[in-house]
Symmetry: C2
Subunit: 200 residues, 2 copies
DNA sequence: TCCATAACGGAACGTTCCGTTTCGTTTTGT
DNA sequence: ACAAAACGAAACGGAACGTTCCGTTATGGA
Protein backbone atom coordinates (compact mmCIF):
# COMPACT_ATOMS: atom_id res chain seq x y z
CA UNK A 1 0.00 0.00 0.00
CA UNK A 2 2.50 2.56 1.12
CA UNK A 3 4.73 2.13 -1.90
CA UNK A 4 7.26 4.42 -0.25
CA UNK A 5 8.82 5.08 -3.66
CA UNK A 6 12.13 3.45 -2.82
CA UNK A 7 13.54 5.91 -5.32
CA UNK A 8 16.45 7.34 -3.39
CA UNK A 9 17.65 5.15 -0.55
CA UNK A 10 21.13 6.54 -1.18
CA UNK A 11 23.05 6.48 2.03
CA UNK A 12 25.82 8.86 2.88
CA UNK A 13 28.72 7.63 4.97
CA UNK A 14 30.39 9.71 7.59
CA UNK A 15 32.78 12.33 6.28
CA UNK A 16 34.67 12.48 9.52
CA UNK A 17 34.27 14.38 12.73
CA UNK A 18 31.90 16.98 11.29
CA UNK A 19 28.32 17.04 10.14
CA UNK A 20 27.62 16.25 6.52
CA UNK A 21 25.64 18.96 4.71
CA UNK A 22 24.62 16.36 2.15
CA UNK A 23 22.67 14.62 4.91
CA UNK A 24 20.88 17.82 5.79
CA UNK A 25 19.96 18.37 2.17
CA UNK A 26 18.81 14.79 1.71
CA UNK A 27 16.65 14.97 4.84
CA UNK A 28 15.11 18.25 3.74
CA UNK A 29 14.32 16.83 0.31
CA UNK A 30 12.88 13.68 1.84
CA UNK A 31 10.71 15.68 4.21
CA UNK A 32 9.40 17.70 1.32
CA UNK A 33 8.66 14.57 -0.71
CA UNK A 34 6.88 12.83 2.15
CA UNK A 35 4.71 15.88 2.79
CA UNK A 36 3.91 16.20 -0.89
CA UNK A 37 2.89 12.58 -1.23
CA UNK A 38 1.33 11.76 2.10
CA UNK A 39 0.34 15.12 3.56
CA UNK A 40 0.58 15.94 7.22
CA UNK A 41 -0.96 12.61 8.20
CA UNK A 42 1.95 10.72 6.68
CA UNK A 43 4.65 13.08 7.80
CA UNK A 44 6.63 11.23 10.43
CA UNK A 45 10.26 11.42 11.41
CA UNK A 46 10.54 7.70 10.75
CA UNK A 47 9.15 8.12 7.25
CA UNK A 48 11.51 10.99 6.53
CA UNK A 49 14.39 8.99 7.94
CA UNK A 50 13.61 5.98 5.73
CA UNK A 51 13.05 8.13 2.67
CA UNK A 52 16.30 10.02 3.17
CA UNK A 53 18.32 6.92 3.94
CA UNK A 54 19.36 8.75 7.08
CA UNK A 55 19.34 7.79 10.72
CA UNK A 56 16.96 9.55 13.06
CA UNK A 57 19.82 10.79 15.25
CA UNK A 58 21.13 12.62 12.19
CA UNK A 59 17.80 14.38 11.81
CA UNK A 60 17.85 15.45 15.44
CA UNK A 61 21.43 16.63 15.07
CA UNK A 62 20.22 19.25 12.59
CA UNK A 63 16.75 20.08 13.95
CA UNK A 64 15.61 20.10 17.53
CA UNK A 65 12.14 18.71 16.85
CA UNK A 66 9.55 18.06 14.18
CA UNK A 67 8.20 21.60 14.11
CA UNK A 68 11.70 22.94 13.55
CA UNK A 69 12.11 20.68 10.55
CA UNK A 70 8.72 21.70 9.17
CA UNK A 71 9.63 25.37 9.34
CA UNK A 72 12.84 24.80 7.46
CA UNK A 73 11.06 22.73 4.83
CA UNK A 74 8.76 25.66 4.22
CA UNK A 75 11.63 28.09 4.20
CA UNK A 76 13.42 25.97 1.63
CA UNK A 77 10.32 26.01 -0.57
CA UNK A 78 9.56 29.64 -0.21
CA UNK A 79 10.32 30.55 -3.85
CA UNK A 80 10.56 34.13 -2.72
CA UNK A 81 7.33 35.59 -3.97
CA UNK A 82 8.13 39.23 -4.51
CA UNK A 83 5.53 41.89 -3.88
CA UNK A 84 6.32 45.23 -5.47
CA UNK A 85 3.88 48.08 -4.84
CA UNK A 86 2.52 49.66 -8.01
CA UNK A 87 0.49 52.39 -6.41
CA UNK A 88 -2.78 50.48 -6.23
CA UNK A 89 -3.09 48.46 -3.04
CA UNK A 90 -6.10 46.41 -4.13
CA UNK A 91 -4.38 45.38 -7.33
CA UNK A 92 -1.10 44.64 -5.54
CA UNK A 93 -2.84 42.48 -2.95
CA UNK A 94 -4.84 40.63 -5.58
CA UNK A 95 -1.73 39.89 -7.58
CA UNK A 96 0.22 38.81 -4.53
CA UNK A 97 -2.60 36.57 -3.34
CA UNK A 98 -2.89 34.85 -6.68
CA UNK A 99 0.83 34.18 -6.64
CA UNK A 100 0.65 32.87 -3.08
CA UNK A 101 -2.24 30.55 -3.83
CA UNK A 102 -0.55 29.29 -6.98
CA UNK A 103 2.55 28.65 -4.88
CA UNK A 104 0.54 26.80 -2.24
CA UNK A 105 -1.35 24.88 -4.86
CA UNK A 106 1.42 24.05 -7.30
CA UNK A 107 4.07 22.95 -4.83
CA UNK A 108 4.07 20.93 -1.60
CA UNK A 109 4.08 24.25 0.24
CA UNK A 110 0.37 24.38 0.91
CA UNK A 111 0.50 21.06 2.69
CA UNK A 112 3.64 22.10 4.50
CA UNK A 113 2.03 25.31 5.67
CA UNK A 114 -1.06 23.50 6.89
CA UNK A 115 1.14 21.03 8.75
CA UNK A 116 3.02 23.91 10.33
CA UNK A 117 -0.14 25.57 11.59
CA UNK A 118 -1.46 22.27 12.91
CA UNK A 119 1.79 21.47 14.68
CA UNK A 120 1.74 24.85 16.39
CA UNK A 121 -1.59 24.01 17.99
CA UNK A 122 -0.09 21.16 20.01
CA UNK A 123 3.36 22.58 20.68
CA UNK A 124 3.65 25.90 22.56
CA UNK A 125 7.25 26.36 21.45
CA UNK A 126 6.24 25.91 17.84
CA UNK A 127 3.44 28.43 18.24
CA UNK A 128 5.80 30.99 19.73
CA UNK A 129 8.29 30.46 16.94
CA UNK A 130 5.52 30.77 14.38
CA UNK A 131 4.18 33.99 15.84
CA UNK A 132 7.41 35.74 16.67
CA UNK A 133 9.77 34.60 13.98
CA UNK A 134 8.22 32.71 11.10
CA UNK A 135 5.21 34.92 10.45
CA UNK A 136 6.92 38.32 10.74
CA UNK A 137 9.62 37.20 8.33
CA UNK A 138 7.09 35.80 5.92
CA UNK A 139 4.91 38.91 6.04
CA UNK A 140 7.58 41.50 5.39
CA UNK A 141 6.57 41.88 1.76
CA UNK A 142 2.86 42.23 2.20
CA UNK A 143 3.35 44.50 5.18
CA UNK A 144 5.40 46.63 2.85
CA UNK A 145 2.43 46.90 0.50
CA UNK A 146 0.28 48.27 3.30
CA UNK A 147 3.02 50.60 4.47
CA UNK A 148 3.42 51.99 0.98
CA UNK A 149 -0.32 52.55 0.71
CA UNK A 150 -0.30 54.32 4.07
CA UNK A 151 2.61 56.49 2.94
CA UNK A 152 0.54 57.50 -0.08
CA UNK A 153 -2.30 58.39 2.24
CA UNK A 154 -4.59 55.74 0.77
CA UNK A 155 -5.16 54.02 4.10
CA UNK A 156 -4.61 55.19 7.70
CA UNK A 157 -1.37 53.96 9.28
CA UNK A 158 -3.18 52.90 12.43
CA UNK A 159 -5.35 50.49 10.43
CA UNK A 160 -2.48 48.49 9.00
CA UNK A 161 -2.60 45.81 11.68
CA UNK A 162 -6.32 45.16 11.27
CA UNK A 163 -6.12 45.07 7.49
CA UNK A 164 -3.10 42.80 7.62
CA UNK A 165 -4.99 40.44 9.92
CA UNK A 166 -7.88 40.40 7.47
CA UNK A 167 -5.48 39.58 4.68
CA UNK A 168 -3.71 36.77 6.55
CA UNK A 169 -6.90 35.24 7.85
CA UNK A 170 -8.51 35.25 4.42
CA UNK A 171 -5.65 33.18 3.04
CA UNK A 172 -5.56 30.89 6.04
CA UNK A 173 -9.25 30.12 5.77
CA UNK A 174 -8.96 28.89 2.21
CA UNK A 175 -5.76 26.93 2.67
CA UNK A 176 -6.88 25.30 5.94
CA UNK A 177 -10.17 24.19 4.46
CA UNK A 178 -8.46 23.01 1.28
CA UNK A 179 -10.51 25.31 -0.93
CA UNK A 180 -7.77 27.13 -2.79
CA UNK A 181 -9.29 26.22 -6.13
CA UNK A 182 -12.93 26.96 -5.42
CA UNK A 183 -12.22 30.20 -3.61
CA UNK A 184 -10.35 32.07 -6.34
CA UNK A 185 -13.34 34.16 -7.34
CA UNK A 186 -13.44 35.74 -3.90
CA UNK A 187 -9.94 37.18 -4.13
CA UNK A 188 -10.58 40.45 -6.01
CA UNK A 189 -13.66 41.26 -3.94
CA UNK A 190 -11.88 40.63 -0.66
CA UNK A 191 -8.78 42.56 -1.66
CA UNK A 192 -10.84 45.56 -2.72
CA UNK A 193 -12.49 45.61 0.71
CA UNK A 194 -9.18 45.22 2.54
CA UNK A 195 -7.65 48.02 0.49
CA UNK A 196 -10.63 50.37 0.65
CA UNK A 197 -10.00 53.92 1.69
CA UNK A 198 -11.52 54.88 4.99
CA UNK A 199 -13.87 57.51 3.58
CA UNK A 200 -17.35 56.47 4.50
CA UNK B 1 4.03 15.40 37.15
CA UNK B 2 0.73 14.91 35.44
CA UNK B 3 -1.38 15.44 38.55
CA UNK B 4 -4.41 14.22 36.61
CA UNK B 5 -6.71 15.75 39.24
CA UNK B 6 -8.20 12.45 40.40
CA UNK B 7 -11.28 14.50 41.20
CA UNK B 8 -13.99 12.39 39.61
CA UNK B 9 -13.02 8.79 39.02
CA UNK B 10 -16.67 7.83 39.51
CA UNK B 11 -17.38 4.69 37.62
CA UNK B 12 -20.74 3.75 36.20
CA UNK B 13 -21.76 0.13 36.09
CA UNK B 14 -23.73 -1.37 33.27
CA UNK B 15 -27.42 -0.59 33.29
CA UNK B 16 -28.21 -3.61 31.21
CA UNK B 17 -28.38 -4.30 27.53
CA UNK B 18 -28.44 -0.65 26.51
CA UNK B 19 -25.97 2.21 26.47
CA UNK B 20 -25.75 4.42 29.51
CA UNK B 21 -26.29 8.13 28.75
CA UNK B 22 -24.51 8.94 31.99
CA UNK B 23 -21.37 7.50 30.45
CA UNK B 24 -21.73 9.73 27.43
CA UNK B 25 -22.15 12.77 29.63
CA UNK B 26 -19.21 11.82 31.83
CA UNK B 27 -16.97 11.30 28.80
CA UNK B 28 -18.01 14.62 27.30
CA UNK B 29 -17.32 16.43 30.56
CA UNK B 30 -13.97 14.68 30.93
CA UNK B 31 -12.98 15.58 27.38
CA UNK B 32 -13.85 19.19 28.06
CA UNK B 33 -11.83 19.20 31.28
CA UNK B 34 -8.79 17.60 29.70
CA UNK B 35 -8.83 20.11 26.86
CA UNK B 36 -9.23 22.99 29.27
CA UNK B 37 -6.35 21.88 31.45
CA UNK B 38 -3.91 20.36 29.00
CA UNK B 39 -4.84 21.84 25.65
CA UNK B 40 -4.66 19.89 22.43
CA UNK B 41 -1.27 18.46 23.34
CA UNK B 42 -2.73 16.62 26.32
CA UNK B 43 -5.98 15.61 24.68
CA UNK B 44 -5.80 11.86 24.26
CA UNK B 45 -8.50 9.24 24.34
CA UNK B 46 -6.60 7.51 27.11
CA UNK B 47 -6.56 10.68 29.19
CA UNK B 48 -10.27 11.22 28.63
CA UNK B 49 -10.95 7.61 29.47
CA UNK B 50 -9.03 7.82 32.75
CA UNK B 51 -10.58 11.14 33.66
CA UNK B 52 -14.08 9.89 32.97
CA UNK B 53 -13.61 6.57 34.71
CA UNK B 54 -14.81 5.02 31.49
CA UNK B 55 -13.42 2.31 29.29
CA UNK B 56 -12.16 3.22 25.86
CA UNK B 57 -14.62 0.89 24.15
CA UNK B 58 -17.39 2.93 25.73
CA UNK B 59 -15.98 6.06 24.15
CA UNK B 60 -15.85 4.39 20.76
CA UNK B 61 -19.39 3.14 21.23
CA UNK B 62 -20.58 6.75 21.22
CA UNK B 63 -18.08 8.42 18.85
CA UNK B 64 -16.40 6.91 15.85
CA UNK B 65 -13.05 8.64 16.34
CA UNK B 66 -11.25 11.45 18.12
CA UNK B 67 -12.32 14.15 15.69
CA UNK B 68 -15.94 13.15 16.15
CA UNK B 69 -15.59 13.54 19.90
CA UNK B 70 -13.90 16.91 19.49
CA UNK B 71 -16.73 18.20 17.36
CA UNK B 72 -19.32 17.16 19.89
CA UNK B 73 -17.33 18.72 22.71
CA UNK B 74 -17.42 22.01 20.84
CA UNK B 75 -21.10 21.61 20.03
CA UNK B 76 -21.85 21.01 23.69
CA UNK B 77 -19.98 24.18 24.61
CA UNK B 78 -21.42 26.35 21.94
CA UNK B 79 -23.56 28.37 24.33
CA UNK B 80 -25.55 29.41 21.29
CA UNK B 81 -24.26 32.87 20.65
CA UNK B 82 -27.16 34.59 19.01
CA UNK B 83 -26.63 37.15 16.30
CA UNK B 84 -29.62 39.35 15.64
CA UNK B 85 -29.38 41.93 12.85
CA UNK B 86 -30.09 45.48 13.95
CA UNK B 87 -29.80 47.12 10.58
CA UNK B 88 -26.12 48.03 10.82
CA UNK B 89 -23.89 45.23 9.58
CA UNK B 90 -20.64 46.66 10.91
CA UNK B 91 -22.11 47.05 14.37
CA UNK B 92 -23.71 43.60 14.26
CA UNK B 93 -20.45 41.96 13.22
CA UNK B 94 -18.46 43.83 15.84
CA UNK B 95 -20.85 42.79 18.56
CA UNK B 96 -20.94 39.19 17.40
CA UNK B 97 -17.16 39.01 17.17
CA UNK B 98 -16.71 40.35 20.68
CA UNK B 99 -19.10 37.73 21.97
CA UNK B 100 -17.33 35.01 20.04
CA UNK B 101 -13.91 36.00 21.29
CA UNK B 102 -15.16 36.25 24.87
CA UNK B 103 -16.64 32.78 24.43
CA UNK B 104 -13.38 31.43 23.07
CA UNK B 105 -11.39 33.16 25.77
CA UNK B 106 -13.58 32.55 28.77
CA UNK B 107 -14.34 28.88 28.22
CA UNK B 108 -12.38 25.86 27.01
CA UNK B 109 -13.94 26.47 23.61
CA UNK B 110 -11.04 28.35 22.12
CA UNK B 111 -8.72 25.44 22.80
CA UNK B 112 -11.31 23.01 21.55
CA UNK B 113 -11.73 24.93 18.35
CA UNK B 114 -8.00 25.10 17.77
CA UNK B 115 -7.75 21.36 18.39
CA UNK B 116 -10.53 20.78 15.89
CA UNK B 117 -8.81 22.76 13.18
CA UNK B 118 -5.51 21.02 13.86
CA UNK B 119 -7.10 17.59 13.80
CA UNK B 120 -8.68 18.34 10.44
CA UNK B 121 -5.24 18.93 8.95
CA UNK B 122 -4.19 15.32 9.52
CA UNK B 123 -7.50 13.58 8.97
CA UNK B 124 -9.23 13.98 5.58
CA UNK B 125 -12.51 12.72 6.97
CA UNK B 126 -12.38 15.28 9.74
CA UNK B 127 -11.65 18.03 7.25
CA UNK B 128 -14.61 17.03 5.11
CA UNK B 129 -16.88 16.94 8.13
CA UNK B 130 -15.58 20.33 9.23
CA UNK B 131 -16.13 21.93 5.85
CA UNK B 132 -19.44 20.38 4.93
CA UNK B 133 -21.23 19.99 8.23
CA UNK B 134 -19.60 21.68 11.20
CA UNK B 135 -18.79 25.03 9.63
CA UNK B 136 -22.05 25.61 7.75
CA UNK B 137 -24.02 24.86 10.91
CA UNK B 138 -21.84 27.10 12.98
CA UNK B 139 -22.02 29.96 10.48
CA UNK B 140 -25.77 30.07 10.03
CA UNK B 141 -26.11 33.08 12.31
CA UNK B 142 -23.40 35.24 10.85
CA UNK B 143 -24.40 34.29 7.34
CA UNK B 144 -27.83 35.58 8.29
CA UNK B 145 -26.30 38.94 9.18
CA UNK B 146 -24.81 39.23 5.73
CA UNK B 147 -28.02 38.06 4.08
CA UNK B 148 -30.01 40.68 5.97
CA UNK B 149 -27.57 43.38 4.92
CA UNK B 150 -27.83 42.23 1.32
CA UNK B 151 -31.62 42.27 1.56
CA UNK B 152 -31.40 45.88 2.70
CA UNK B 153 -29.21 46.65 -0.28
CA UNK B 154 -26.23 47.54 1.91
CA UNK B 155 -23.97 44.98 0.28
CA UNK B 156 -24.20 43.05 -3.00
CA UNK B 157 -25.53 39.51 -2.67
CA UNK B 158 -22.75 38.16 -4.84
CA UNK B 159 -20.15 39.45 -2.40
CA UNK B 160 -21.47 37.54 0.61
CA UNK B 161 -19.10 34.62 0.20
CA UNK B 162 -15.99 36.78 -0.02
CA UNK B 163 -17.02 38.90 2.96
CA UNK B 164 -17.88 35.83 4.97
CA UNK B 165 -14.47 34.36 4.21
CA UNK B 166 -12.85 37.58 5.38
CA UNK B 167 -14.85 37.40 8.58
CA UNK B 168 -14.06 33.76 9.30
CA UNK B 169 -10.39 34.11 8.48
CA UNK B 170 -10.01 37.18 10.67
CA UNK B 171 -11.27 35.22 13.67
CA UNK B 172 -9.21 32.15 12.83
CA UNK B 173 -6.03 34.14 12.60
CA UNK B 174 -6.35 35.50 16.10
CA UNK B 175 -7.49 32.28 17.72
CA UNK B 176 -4.88 30.13 15.98
CA UNK B 177 -2.05 32.43 16.97
CA UNK B 178 -3.39 32.73 20.51
CA UNK B 179 -3.76 36.50 20.28
CA UNK B 180 -7.39 36.93 21.25
CA UNK B 181 -6.47 39.41 23.94
CA UNK B 182 -4.00 41.55 22.06
CA UNK B 183 -6.08 41.70 18.90
CA UNK B 184 -9.27 43.19 20.27
CA UNK B 185 -8.52 46.67 19.03
CA UNK B 186 -8.56 45.47 15.46
CA UNK B 187 -12.14 44.23 15.60
CA UNK B 188 -14.08 47.43 14.86
CA UNK B 189 -11.74 48.46 12.07
CA UNK B 190 -11.92 45.06 10.41
CA UNK B 191 -15.68 44.80 10.73
CA UNK B 192 -16.18 48.22 9.20
CA UNK B 193 -14.12 47.16 6.20
CA UNK B 194 -15.97 43.85 5.84
CA UNK B 195 -19.31 45.61 6.05
CA UNK B 196 -18.43 48.50 3.78
CA UNK B 197 -20.80 49.32 0.99
CA UNK B 198 -19.43 48.70 -2.46
CA UNK B 199 -19.53 52.33 -3.53
CA UNK B 200 -16.02 53.30 -4.46
C1' DT C 1 51.89 9.12 11.56
C1' DC C 2 48.90 8.12 15.17
C1' DC C 3 44.65 8.45 17.46
C1' DA C 4 40.92 10.94 19.95
C1' DT C 5 36.86 12.87 18.18
C1' DA C 6 32.57 13.14 16.15
C1' DA C 7 29.27 12.31 12.55
C1' DC C 8 27.26 8.57 9.96
C1' DG C 9 23.32 4.79 9.19
C1' DG C 10 20.98 1.36 11.52
C1' DA C 11 18.80 -0.90 15.14
C1' DA C 12 16.68 -1.06 19.28
C1' DC C 13 14.90 1.22 23.22
C1' DG C 14 11.04 3.11 26.43
C1' DT C 15 7.07 5.88 26.13
C1' DT C 16 2.77 7.41 24.38
C1' DC C 17 -1.16 7.05 21.74
C1' DC C 18 -4.91 5.05 18.66
C1' DG C 19 -8.49 2.01 17.91
C1' DT C 20 -9.65 -3.04 18.75
C1' DT C 21 -10.20 -7.26 21.26
C1' DT C 22 -10.97 -9.98 25.27
C1' DC C 23 -12.71 -10.75 29.79
C1' DG C 24 -15.68 -11.05 33.81
C1' DT C 25 -19.58 -8.38 35.72
C1' DT C 26 -24.08 -6.22 35.77
C1' DT C 27 -28.57 -5.44 34.39
C1' DT C 28 -32.35 -5.62 31.04
C1' DG C 29 -36.12 -7.60 28.59
C1' DT C 30 -38.30 -11.70 27.24
C1' DA D 1 -34.26 -18.42 33.76
C1' DC D 2 -31.42 -16.81 30.24
C1' DA D 3 -29.70 -14.57 25.96
C1' DA D 4 -28.18 -10.05 24.91
C1' DA D 5 -25.69 -6.03 25.37
C1' DA D 6 -23.38 -2.45 27.76
C1' DC D 7 -20.05 -1.65 31.42
C1' DG D 8 -14.85 -0.91 33.27
C1' DA D 9 -10.47 -2.81 32.96
C1' DA D 10 -6.72 -4.68 30.81
C1' DA D 11 -4.15 -6.03 27.12
C1' DC D 12 -3.22 -6.03 22.33
C1' DG D 13 -0.89 -4.66 17.57
C1' DG D 14 0.68 -0.93 15.14
C1' DA D 15 2.68 3.49 14.70
C1' DA D 16 5.17 7.36 16.14
C1' DC D 17 8.40 10.32 19.08
C1' DG D 18 12.81 11.30 20.64
C1' DT D 19 16.95 8.77 22.76
C1' DT D 20 20.65 5.51 23.27
C1' DC D 21 23.83 2.29 21.67
C1' DC D 22 26.62 0.14 18.03
C1' DG D 23 30.17 -0.56 14.55
C1' DT D 24 32.01 2.23 10.71
C1' DT D 25 34.23 6.16 8.56
C1' DA D 26 36.98 9.97 8.07
C1' DT D 27 38.99 14.29 9.99
C1' DG D 28 42.42 17.04 12.04
C1' DG D 29 45.46 18.08 15.98
C1' DA D 30 49.52 16.21 18.53
Amino acid sequence: MKAEKAATPIRRASIGARRNPASQAAILAAARAVLAEQGYAGFSIDAVSRRAGAGKPTIYRWWKNRADLLMEVYAAEKARIRAVPTGDLARDLTEHTKQLWAFWWGTPSGRTFRALLAEAQSDPDALAALREKFLPERLLDVRGLFAAAAARGDIPTEEIEARLALYIGFNWFYVLTDQLEAGQAAIPVAMRLIAASSRS
